[in-house]
Symmetry: C2
Subunit: 200 residues, 2 copies
Amino acid sequence: MGETIMDHRAERMKSLIIQTFFECLKTEDFSQLTVGQIAEHARINRSTFYRYFSDKYTLRDEIVDDIVQDFAEHMEVDFLHMNIEDEVHTRSLQDGLIRLSSQKCRLEILWNQNLLGRNVFDEMMNAGARKVEAEILNHPTISAERKQLADWYAKLLVNNFLVTVRWWFSHSDTVSASQITTMMKRHMLYGTIPTLKESR
Amino acid sequence: MGETIMDHRAERMKSLIIQTFFECLKTEDFSQLTVGQIAEHARINRSTFYRYFSDKYTLRDEIVDDIVQDFAEHMEVDFLHMNIEDEVHTRSLQDGLIRLSSQKCRLEILWNQNLLGRNVFDEMMNAGARKVEAEILNHPTISAERKQLADWYAKLLVNNFLVTVRWWFSHSDTVSASQITTMMKRHMLYGTIPTLKESR
């Protein structure tokens, strides 16, 4: 019982530190940010910070690792196995987009930090692509010739998805999750250039 | 006459400094790199360095600005205007790839530097996309509905191109310029997912 209370308290304190880290990065470069600043903004002692993270780099790495792992775990691969026009696929695509949009604020902060020392966009892309690549390699009907290029296909597919998400984030006041899902589906079915040139 | 000799000398010295900058970045992070190290590697005095660049940031910015501008200038937009199956288009696509591959070593160094303070891959993408976006907006037959999404289309198209180039660079000992051109054309014509699923 005592342990559970401590666990909750520790969880809340870690959440506060992480939340404050993102608050600080809205105005400060990671390279300039200090543990003192984070502690001051969170109204905690520096010693409290150090009980949870050994320095700002450990804090950054824990946050980035979680985000990258979470993205790969939830990366949708149904499009390889079912008809893209299927309702079930549409729902799973849209659910994935809504899931990501709940992290919008944090993702944009991380993606736009040039001196974070980790390229979060690239890491998400590569982690997602490793999952898609494995799925392509194990796919029952994709040809051996295409499987030789599985890593290229995986990178293209995950990149298209992430570039679209990033574009959507900067237009999310005018473009709904359902609209962006429809737009993505059209491209998945017919390709980007044919869709652009012929108004399907 | 005297001036011309001085100009050539200045050009050669700048080239040497730039070349040395890239040499140093093969083993050193930009954030750790000093003007002293660059000067030592180039076997010049620090004062000679400062005659051409006021610090390492100015050197970086001049290099990155040149690369980004050069990429956008040569970004191929013929695919919007001609049949992609046309021989002329194939040649212009392949010429663009060969052009980029001549910068392979420098591009890979810049793309892989996490603490450069400039995201060269993203900047190339955005500069190329601005050109493609303008081309879409001025296009005679693309529909008004698609033109509203011109910035999204432009980002997707340039990203696909750059992700493919980056993938090719890491496989250029086994994949020729002509092979990668054929692969790209197939995707441009039919879309990535249809090409992956149906062996065209």
